[in-house]
Amino acid sequence: MNQVAFERVDNDILLIRLAGRWQLSGGLAPSRAFERELQALPSVARVTFDAQDLSDWDSSILTFLATVSDVCRQRGVSVELDGLPAGIRQLLDLAQAVPERAGARQQVREASLLERVGGRAIGMAGSAAEMLSFLGDMTVTFVRLFGMKARYRASDLFLLIQQCGAQALPIVTLISFLVGVILAFVGAIQLKQFGAQIYVANLVGVAMMREMGAMMTAILMAGRTGAAFAAQLGTMKVTQEIDAFTTAGFSPLEFLVLPRTVALILMMPLLCLYSDFVGIVGGAAIGVGMLDLSWTTYIQQTMHAVRLTDIVGGVFKSAVYGVLIALAGCLRGLQSGNSSSAVGDAATSAVVTGIVAIIVACGIFAVVFYVLGL
């Protein structure tokens, strides 16, 4: 157990006796008693120590002594460390070797509501400006692509096409099949009441072709590929690979963002068509299994219900969603900070930004298609 006692050797000399075992596990000795002694009259000019009965010590005694030194320095009281063991003296010297740098200590202050709202607004304005600048740069990059001036590695593009296309098929198959099943199931329960179960094929076919195929594929790809893009670029930023591109005179937008965007623009329509097909198969499984429809009847009914404009509209939307997912992923990756947690945040932010952009675009498409009579 740590023991500390105070004794006036002379009127203005305070002797601090340290004894016993000073261990962190036993808790820290409070410095209040020392401060009280220092305030007592007559005033203290010098502090000395006696550590003859000190048996064992660790950082707990150093913490106490550092506080004593700080208090004495603030009050102009001199401290004599001669009575302390050499090890303690050396460690105290080490702790005080480099003085605190002016302004290094962060001032923690509670910001007012107005300040926080203002700060958030300024942050959002900055973020919007960054996004616009990125979109402008990407527009220029696409113009260079169409002018055959953009520089990127074709092998990277093919690899990305494989990652965004073929490797996404299993998850797209599973989710699209289940979406078709769910749509058919919900429709079947309602339509059966009126003996109109054959229209389940219409419901599933039109919903998958116009909206759900493109939308579900896009949301899947935002979670799968958009997050991967952000994590890849974020990690490249942490490891200075993006800096290396810049100093080599290469545009990171052309070498990194362009192939990813092109890969998704090419693959999203194909994945969307595949999703449409699998969704219809899922609906047919319910139609055949639950509603006693034949496969032929179901497929014929679907072909009657679905128009070419539904298919083209869905495919067009999926290509646009592909652009949004790629840009959201790459933007968040390039904006990532230089730490592992920042890369995680970038991936999360890419998914959120991608899905929000998809939903907003979906709403805009709904209005535009309605106005155009499609």
Partner: protein
């Protein structure tokens, strides 16, 4: 470099820095941790924009150059980053070859040959088809140097070349830097706080002081050790040893 001020937002890191790097120098940028050495390097190679002042390459203003001029200047420099910064999706030969593909008319076979030569120069012959993740940190640094040398640059920049290396690898890298300077006739700029490297390879230097936020000493490192009156510079160059009376 003329009147350069570096800042992050409103926080001024270093101000009013002016110095010249002569052709053929091994120029050391030294200073304590957090003094802004690596940030200065980022300003020199165009990764950060100065708050004020300009960076010149010969008579060309790099800071205010248009993108085409900047690209031309960047072709004349090579950078070895602290972490190596090799492009992780490419093999070592591809890392070097990408620059040659973009900036020369060489055939793929010739590019492969040049890449092998560059890797041989840094002691990595036979590692052409390895990915960065398959080699050690020291080898990654040397491969980064091979990539920086791909286009035979006039100026080579090194950010903390010895960081994370064992003493023998560190000495070998120092020797390599001197060999390259002598054989290629390049100018070398090294950001470091490794005293052994500073005295072995440095022909000229500046000392950045994080407290006054400016350059407090300049000259050959050995001269600074012998003659500098600045206590911070002396403490730095003697590893903080106390002066003998």
């Amino acid at each position: 470099m003329r009147d350069l001020t570096m800042a992050y937002g409103s926080f001024v890191l270093m101000r009013d820095m002016s110095f010249t790097i002569n052709h053929g120098d091994v120029f050391i940028v030294m200073g304590g941790s957090g003094s802004g050495k690596s940030t200065l390097l980022r300003h020199l190679i165009g990764l950060n924009e100065p708050a004020r002042g300009d960076v010149f390459y010969q008579e060309q203003n790099f800071t205010r150059a248009d993108p085409t001029q900047r690209q031309q200047i960047l072709r004349r420099i090579g950078v070895t980053f602290q972490s190596g910064a090799l492009w992780s999706a490419m093999t070592l030969a591809e890392n070097i070859g990408l620059l040659l593909e973009e900036y020369t008319e060489l055939s793929p076979a010739e590019i492969r040959e040049v890449a092998s030569l560059k890797l041989a120069l840094v002691g990595l012959k036979g590692f052409e088809d390895y990915y960065p993740s398959q080699i050690s940190g020291g080898m990654q640094k040397r491969a980064g140097l091979a990539r920086a040398m791909a286009l035979d640059p006039r100026i080579l920049f090194f950010d903390e070349p010895s960081a994370g290396l064992d003493p023998i690898s560190s000495r070998l890298l120092d020797e390599l830097i001197l060999d390259l300077r002598d054989s290629l006739g390049s100018t070398v700029v090294v950001v470091t706080h490794e005293l052994a490297s500073i005295f072995t390879i440095g022909s000229n230097s500046i000392f950045l002081d994080g407290e006054t936020r400016t350059i407090t000493a300049s000259g050959p490192p050995k001269d600074l050790l012998a003659h500098s009156q600045d206590p911070k510079v002396r403490r730095f160059l003697t590893r903080g040893e106390k002066e003998k009376p």
